[in-house]
Amino acid sequence: MADLNRKPGLTFYLACSWLTLVLLCSLCAGFLPFPFTLDQIDSDHLAALPGGAHLLGTDAMGRDILTRLFFGSRISLIVGSCAPLLGLVVGLLLGMPAAWFRGWSERLVLTVTDIILAFPALIFLLVFTSVLGPSLTTITLGLGLLLSPRFIRVVRANTARLREREFVLAARISGAQEVSILLKEVLPNIMGPLLAYTLVVTGYVIVVEGGLAFLGLSVPSPAPSWGGMIATGRDVLEEAPHVAIIPMATMFLTVLAVNLLGDRLGRRYDRS
């Protein structure tokens, strides 16, 4: 939409700054001296508006929102970065050989992809977390597995695009092995668009994790997560909308920033 050749504008830097801020917050959450702990209940200030001791107010149970926001960012960022990375790895491992060598391996991978895609995601996650116990690891694993088909498809599309290119033929003629061609020639060329896609998926995962938390299926209490905070805000939506709005805004800004970066990166590779 904007001219590709323009230098990164204000929005780009704003997005980067916000993400850095969130990253720092989540990293430092364990070390900073917060005045309140995660589940400390302040019965004098139930659903209090921002101001005073509680910089961002409290939720319906009297817990400080700012503290919970900080800790909640951890979950969102960890799941948001690890699950797509897992999907990326699986995508590369299965997608590249499938697109390259074709034949039965491709058909097999495509069928498996279709099966996973057709599988209702929710039930998979529910059963997965019920069986293995709901925790950060299982959620990340489950989401990562669910994301794999998308990555497989994108990897496959990008790899197939390069299959007939001259530099590949040239490498083959000079005697290079297929695997080494894949690793040295194809992989570096597809990483660009793949990373852009990964960023976009990150935004998506943050939202999905929030949705899971909303349903009560994410990492259990007392660990806060942005989605969970939004869910608790639902009960007091009319009287104290800030309880839901603050985590909503935070999540929105983070996902927006990630999307902006992913989009920018994607457009750089789109041209070529």
């Binding site: 069986v131 349903l215 927006l256």
Partner: protein
Amino acid sequence: MQLIWRKLLHLLVVLLAVSALTFVMTDRLPADIAAEISGRGATAADLAEVRERLGLNRPVLSRYASWLGGVCKGKLGNSLATELPVTESLRSHLPVTLELLLLSQFFALLLAFPAGIVTAWRAGSRLDRLTGTFAFACASLPNYALAMGLVLLFSLKLKLLPATGYTPLNISLAANLKGFLLPALAISLVEWVILMRVLRSDLIATLKEDYILLARCKGLPAWRILLVHALRPSLFTFITVLGMQAASLIGGAVIIESIFALPGIGRLLVNAIFAQDYPLIQGTVLLITLAYVLINFFVDICYGLLDPRVRRGVENG
């Protein structure tokens, strides 16, 4: 024709695989369904009797096989919780999801179609950039957050629309539509973005073609160039995405259905999972998967109809 049979076979394989996996997975759920049904104070003998009655002692494969047999005869068993036939629950819940699906996709289309066309024609302009920014913002918003925002604004503050609840069509059309307006909006305000982007990008690519240049040289008015010449070849990805979004909404609108208390398929499934109501889980998953796979199948067929050249090339797709 042979291609169609191959796709149908593929469809069947996917269905079987998904239902088999579901069976196996739900089997691994920790809670003891027999204990749930018997309630507290049940003796061991009671539990054993319940298990026997429900056939829980048989091995997984045999249970799956008999379930499959039932499916072929059109029987999906009875819900463990309500004792009603599964098909009954599905039948009562499906229309709600379908209506939500139709309305939300309709709104998404309403937004995406003109936006995609106009921004493609005026690519790079101010309007394009503004629309793009707005679209970006919409896409970054989780639909549950949007739903809550809409409820806050329209139900709680303005008191225009109901916050929750579902009124069947046969009771009152107006009330029914009012109940669906906010949930459909919550879904469509996020989903229109991809549709618009896809349409825009395909249109921009088409507009660079020589025959569009010739159409401009012919002095044809802009609307004619856009709608008659440029649109048709640009609709492929649009339709695919539309189909995929619709397909995933069958079971995927759970959160929205929960927020607005709409008795749809998604909610049915979640409740079934929490209650560990195996037959109901199986039946619902089958329905969801079937819908998903069928819609994708039809989207594939549409391709061939849109472009006479593609009919030959579908094989390579």
